[in-house]
Every structure is written in structure tokens, then in C-alpha cells.
């Protein structure tokens, strides 16, 4: 699988002959092996020009830009080699058919609840008592079956996620309070980490969707247009517990991140450069973790699971075969 490259320093990213190089403010030059790249993530203040953009475009490499506030600022996506009118038509058809749309929305939520539950039960057996949260998650799962519109489905999702987040204050080491999800901008370290982790999941899914001919703007659980790539929001919910939250728990419980890795002002708290670097590194390692896939009969990386999710959705839309959302099976 192709790699992601993260750039943390400030400076200029430019095309240099047939390569891409980073020139930092103190005039240090570094080359990025673009042939093997899936995407480049820009975290610092970086200048770039159209020559660079067309070069990345030619090589099919995406540029994901991480700004301040809630981190994700936007993407420069390469043109797709292939487009599929049929796929887009089927995507829209499913959106327009209320029953079909709600069914897909419910599936995304069912998968999310399952994956949140997996994290909670892991800690439940390791010195925490989360029985009541597990019960709530089971209840929401049952209530999901009875939802008849998207708003209701969203409501169930919100209840489940609130219950799930309520475990964070217990799981995280002392010194890291959470006290509920707030973003735009995040108000404390934990919220900041969740925002950053979720943004990385989101950007990786945008890249995964691009590998299919799915249109990232047509979504089911989230309203199209809620974000530019709202389909990535639908899929991201499935993967946040596996990809973002586990990295957060790991980094904080092992003291790899401390309050020194954040910049706090009156109403916001954001990772500083070193903090982002530590997080991104751990996140990338987690994307490279592998698991035996029962149907493919081989090991696949977590990153490839994102690609498979896009395939599954596309397959469902084109063939009518059932879409089964990602539910962690190990």
C-alpha cells in the first residue's frame, strides 16, 4: 500500500525536476519519494504553486492540508483516471430512495456502535467497570432497528457516541480531562487529540474513496454538502474507534504525549508541532498494522480496510448485494 508523508515544518514544497522537495525556512532541502506516496499531509505553513499541484496530479498523489482550529482544512485531490457515470447514478438513486438511504445510514451507525463497543469492552476487562456503558450501547443498537428516518438514526448515533465518550475520562491518565466532546476549536487536550485523530481518519478515507469511482460528495448518514467529502464522514464513523481512539489511548497511557505537546490559549487547545509529529507517527504505524482477512485469505493493513470499505459500498450500489459495514472481528 502506498505511504502517506507528513510535513511538519514551515517552508516551501516544490517540484524539482522529477521529484518533490521540501525547502524549510532555514534552507534545508529534503526530497519526498513521490512515486510511492498515496498522499502528502501538510501540517506547517507551506507555500506551493501550480507546478507542484499538476505534478502531484500526474502522479495521483493527494495533498491534505491541516490548518489550525479543527485541524483539517482541505484537500487538493488528483484527477481520477477513471470516472463512472453508472456509479454516480446508483449513488444518487440510493440517496433519493428514503428507505434505501435510511438502511445505509443505519448500517453505518450499526458498524460504529459495534466498533465503539469493542473498545469499551477491551477496557471493561482491564480494571474498569463500563457495564452500564455497554448496556447503553446495546440499547442503542436495538433502537437503531426501529428508526425510520435519517435524523432519528443520527440521534441514536449521538446517544451511542456520548456514552462511548463518557468512558474516556476513566481510560485516560490523570491530568487529561475530557468532559464531553467539543470542537471547532477543541477546548482541552483530549478533545484536541480526538479532533486531530478524526481528521487523519477522514483524510485517509478521502484517499480511499478516490481509488473507487465513488463520488465523495454523495452520502447517506450525513447530509451531502455537510462537508465537501461527506461520504468520507459516513465511513469515518466506522473507523474512528479503531484508528483514532486507540492511538490516543496508547499515546497518553504510555506518556508519549504530555501537556507540553499542546498550545493552549483562552478558548482553544491544539497540538503543537512536536505533538502532531508524535501523533502522526503513531497513527501511520497503526495504519500499517495488519490483520488476517477472513474472506480475502490474506493479511491486509488497516489502511487497506478503508479501501475495502469503499469497494463494499460501491459493490452494494452497483449489484444490489448487501452492504455489511466494517465491524472489527478480531
Amino acid at each position: 500500500m502506498d505511504r502517506n508523508y507528513h510535513v511538519f515544518s514551515d517552508g516551501r514544497l516544490e517540484r524539482h525536476n522529477d521529484t518533490v522537495r521540501l525547502v524549510t525556512l532555514d534552507d534545508e532541502k529534503k526530497f519526498l519519494p513521490i512515486e510511492k506516496a498515496e498522499a502528502v499531509y501538510l501540517h506547517g505553513q507551506i507555500d506551493y504553486n501550480t507546478r507542484l499541484v499538476s505534478f502531484l496530479n500526474k502522479h495521483g498523489v493527494a495533498l491534505h492540508i491541516f490548518g489550525w482550529n479543527d485541524y483539517y482544512a482541505g484537500s487538493v485531490m488528483p484527477k481520477r483516471g477513471q470516472t463512472s457515470g453508472t456509479t454516480l447514478v446508483e449513488q444518487v438513486r440510493a440517496y433519493d430512495d428514503l428507505e434505501h438511504r435510511v438502511d445505509l445510514a443505519r448500517k453505518f451507525v450499526a458498524g460504529s456502535i459495534h466498533n465503539m463497543r469493542t473498545n469499551v469492552s477491551y477496557y471493561n476487562t482491564r480494571g474498569h467497570d463500563f457495564e452500564s456503558v455497554l448496556t447503553t450501547l446495546e440499547e442503542t443498537r436495538d433502537r437503531l432497528e426501529e428508526t425510520t428516518d435519517v435524523a432519528e438514526t443520527m440521534g441514536v448515533e449521538a446517544t451511542a457516541r456520548r456514552a462511548y465518550y463518557s468512558t474516556f475520562d476513566d481510560i485516560l491518565p490523570t491530568g487529561f480531562v475530557f468532559d464531553g466532546r467539543r470542537y471547532n476549536p477543541p477546548d482541552n487536550e483530549t478533545n484536541s487529540l480526538i479532533s486531530f485523530g478524526n481528521s487523519l481518519v477522514y483524510a485517509n478515507i478521502i484517499s480511499a474513496i478516490r481509488a473507487t469511482a465513488l463520488d465523495p460528495a454523495v452520502s447517506y448518514l450525513h447530509e451531502p454538502g455537510e462537508r465537501r467529502y461527506s461520504l468520507a464522514l459516513d465511513i469515518a464513523d466506522l473507523f474512528k474507534p479503531l484508528l483514532a481512539d486507540r492511538v490516543i489511548f496508547r499515546l497518553l497511557n504510555r506518556n508519549q504525549l504530555t501537556t507540553d505537546d499542546f498550545e493552549t490559549d483562552l478558548n482553544s487547545c491544539l497540538l503543537n508541532e512536536r505533538g502532531r509529529e508524535t501523533f502522526s507517527k503513531e497513527f501511520e504505524e497503526s495504519l500499517e498494522e495488519t490483520v488476517e482477512h477472513p474472506q480475502l485469505n490474506r493479511k491486509v493493513s488497516y489502511q487497506y480496510l478503508l479501501r475495502l470499505e469503499a469497494y463494499k459500498l460501491k459493490k452494494h450500489l452497483l449489484t444490489g448485494e448487501e452492504y455489511v459495514p466494517f465491524k472489527r472481528w478480531w
Binding site: S84, T86, Q295, R307, Y311, L318
Partner: protein
Amino acid sequence: MTDSDPVDLLLQTARDEAGPEEFRVTGVMMQYYVVCKRELWFHSRHVEIDRGNAAVVRGTHVDETAYADKRKHVSIDGTIAIDVLDDGRVMEVKPSSSLVEPAKLQLLYYLWYLKHVVGVEKSGVLAHPTERKREGVELGEEESEQVEDAIRGVYNVVTSDSPPPATEKPVCESCAYHDFCWSC
């Protein structure tokens, strides 16, 4: 969907006499028909995916260099592309031992097409480059029927709203749709 026989529909299309519904079958479609009907359906809908790991593209003319001096490529109606040997026989190269059946049906289809659309009767030869062997192929009564059944079969697959379900078989391993089919 039409009530008329897909074979007639194909012939009308080839002769430019078809109504609003056209039906063309390429040699590759004949091969897919034998190898995997699901793959045929994907192919007919232009379902394309970037396979993460190196895609193995199955093709007819794997061995383009073999026999290059003794044949010429002829394309007919943009539907079929045949290789004609100096002695006038139509040749098809069998790329690997697992693809002998599909290559043979494709060759028979070409012979059938030449006879019914172009109006020339030809003999065929199936070349096995790895075994340095050539096998003569003739379009007899039985073979014609086999081709026409396959044409009807192709029609049923490509006009249906959903593909036949995936069934696991050895060719899946090297199929471009492998991860698409088995991501589940």
C-alpha cells in the same frame, strides 16, 4: 429486453439492421463467459477498480511476439479482432493451460462470426506456445450450436440487473476484481 433470439439480435446489430436495442459480443466477452460470468457482468458495466496490489490483467494476446511474422491482425466491425495466418486460417493463442476452453470458444466464435456476418468460411488453429503445439479447430454443426448457446448466455448475463454471485475458483486469485468480490 427483447423477445427475439439474442443470436438474431447480434446478427442484426452486426449488419446495422438492429432497432433501438443493439447487442455486440466481443471475443473477450466470450472468454469471460467461460471463465467467470460475474466478471463478464462487471466488464459489461465497465466496473473499474484500482486494485491495490499489482493487478494481473488477463488477456487474450499474452503471447504477442510468438508467431508475429506469420500472421496479420484483422479487425472486423470493431467487434472482433482476428489473427490470420498465411494459409488463411484464423489463429488464437492460448495463453496458459487454464485458458484453453475460453480461447477455444473465442476462436469458434470468430469462425462463426466470419461465416454469418462476413460470409466466409474459415478454419482455425489454436496455438499452444508453451507446448509448441497447434490444434486445428473447425466450426461444425455442434460447434455452431455451442457458440449460439454462448451468445444467448452472454445476453442473459449482460442484460440482468445484478451479476451472478461470486463463487470461489482458482482464477479468482489473479482476477482484477478479486478484492472487489471478496471484500464482503
